[in-house]
């Protein structure tokens, strides 16, 4: 899908995304694909109301996101996910040609991969598998940064 940009960022709609990515992509819609938030009424209201001017924000479960993206999208859509597990689920449901990784915080079992990107062995394996399926996987925190491409095995 050419009008879709998928980004993994555990802080979702934070400063880098609002100030740098949305203007850079000229995105008109943002889809937060997250089961937990989609089922939490307060959090989804909070997230929806926080989008910048002129940008529609949806909070959808991963299944809903997959269904939503299958349509012919007129608008440029930025899809944000919190986790690598989430992207694995999404890819099974719909066709995605590229993935951007912008922020994965440190946690138990994760090792620092690059700057603020921390990955566990499992997560790295998932990304390698995705890359092996001819999907472009890059680590790029800000639009101006140099992309670090995960090439798979």
């Amino acid at each position: 899908m050419k009008n879709v940009f998928v980004r993994i960022d555990d802080r979702l709609l934070h400063g880098q995304v609002v100030v740098s990515w949305i203007p850079y992509l000229r995105a008109k819609e943002v889809v937060i694909a997250d089961d937990e938030y989609a089922n939490d009424e307060f959090m989804s209201e909070l997230i929806k109301s926080s989008g910048p001017e002129g940008v529609i924000v949806h909070v959808k479960t991963i299944d809903e996101t997959a269904a939503y993206l299958s349509d012919d999208n007129q608008n440029k859509i930025l899809v944000l996910l919190r986790s690598i597990e989430g992207i694995k689920k999404l890819i099974k449901k719909t066709k995605i040609s590229s993935i951007n990784i912008g922020g994965v915080g440190a946690a138990q079992g994760r090792k620092r991969y690059y700057n603020s990107i921390h990955l566990s062995d499992d997560e790295l394996n998932i990304l390698n598998d995705i890359a092996n399926d001819n999907i472009y996987v890059e680590i790029r925190i800000l639009p101006k940064d140099k992309a670090i491409i995960i090439k798979g095995n």
């Binding site: 802080r11 934070h14 926080s50 440190a106």
Partner: protein, 478 residues
Amino acid sequence: MTFSDYCLLSIFYFWASSTAFSVGIGYYTIYRPIMAGMAAGLILADIKTGMLAGAVVNIIFIDFISTGGSLKGDQCLTAILAAAASIIFKLNPLEAAAAAFPFGFLGILIWKYRLKINNIFVHIYEKKYKENKAPDISLYNGLFPQLLLFMMSLAVIITAFYLMFLFNKLIHFNSISVLLYYIGIILVIFSVSNVLYKIKIKYNYAIFISVFLAALVLDMRAYILFILIVLSLLYLSEKKVSIVRNSFNGKLKRGDLVYSWFIWMNYSHSCYSYERLMGLAFAHSMKNIIRKLYADEHEIAEAIHNHTEFFNTEPNMGTPIHGYIISLEEERMLNNQSFEDISYIKKGMMGISAGLGDSFTQAILAPLFISMSVMLCLDGSFYLAFIPVIILSVFILFISYNGFMNGYFQGRESMLQRIKDVKQSKIKLYFPYIFSGILGFSISKLLFNNIRPYEDIFTLSIILFAAVIMFIRKRGEQ
């Protein structure tokens, strides 16, 4: 420059770039080139010259926001160097800014490695915690990283000055002052065209040019425009301000919250690391709260450690999270709940307030007020130039303190309210127009107060050339 000058300058640079020990407003005041230039001028006994050099550097960095990934050097260091160059080598502000510009890149090293190096303190803290040694969070978030940062600032300042003086030994700045002058002009024009291009409104160029010409033809003074802007901002701003005046019924009193807020504001970026970002700072701000709630040392250490998890937000807009979390910690102590729910709320709210905050405090409030200060300074109203900076500081402090207290009393609703307030803010709506005007005025004053009469035509063609190049480059990016 004497030994004591170097000491004072490095202490100042450390203070400004650490953003600690300045109640959170350092980033909006002393870190900005105009104020950094002023301080360097104060140390080198020529405030006005320093401030003017700082103002020019400020225009070169006017499009700065920390999330924007700027390709320029460190604005604070550049301003200090420019002020010193202007005072010591008797360069005009444009020349001094151009001379200092390349050496300002050394300052990026601090930001680049700070996030990596601070991981060390996170690791030591974690190790001590695992060994049951109840480590004091204020040492690992406050003292140690700040000591290290001081050493780094000292090294950077000394290296930068050494290189600048060395360059002057090899090629006298004064002998290439004409070249520096034009580099300065080009840097200014590049920055202004870039920022005007970024302002996506219809009349940005029209406003810029008409104010530019009006300032030139009518010889209008900057303070008149400043007063007009302040009056219209007062007219536009929200009259109703919600300040919650509830009473403190639990174990915690107002003083505890104020202290926690004060710690947060001072140390939010103190141990900024890739691994946790502001995690340790959040825990640091909870220390006195947790100490008040629990008595057992083991429980205290654990409850503080809980909060060291990954956390990042905009430090002023995000304070409702702190207030809310404190009220939840109070409940948790009474009902013995798990920490998981608190963690979920923190993580959910932090990104939202970061997006909201960066697009408001950093992208609107700071450039609006700082550019007014620059405009006044370039017109020679040096004392008046402090006023916008003071207004900005009060604004920032109010936003953060008010959010903290509202978060405590109103909980998560306060964050929703905050989002609505910012979205409906008229300042946000009119900012691009006001900002284009201020830029037009500032550039007009800058160029025609510093113009070299015998080079008029040549200067003008350089300016036009730079603007056209910038425009073509931007078009190419589309």
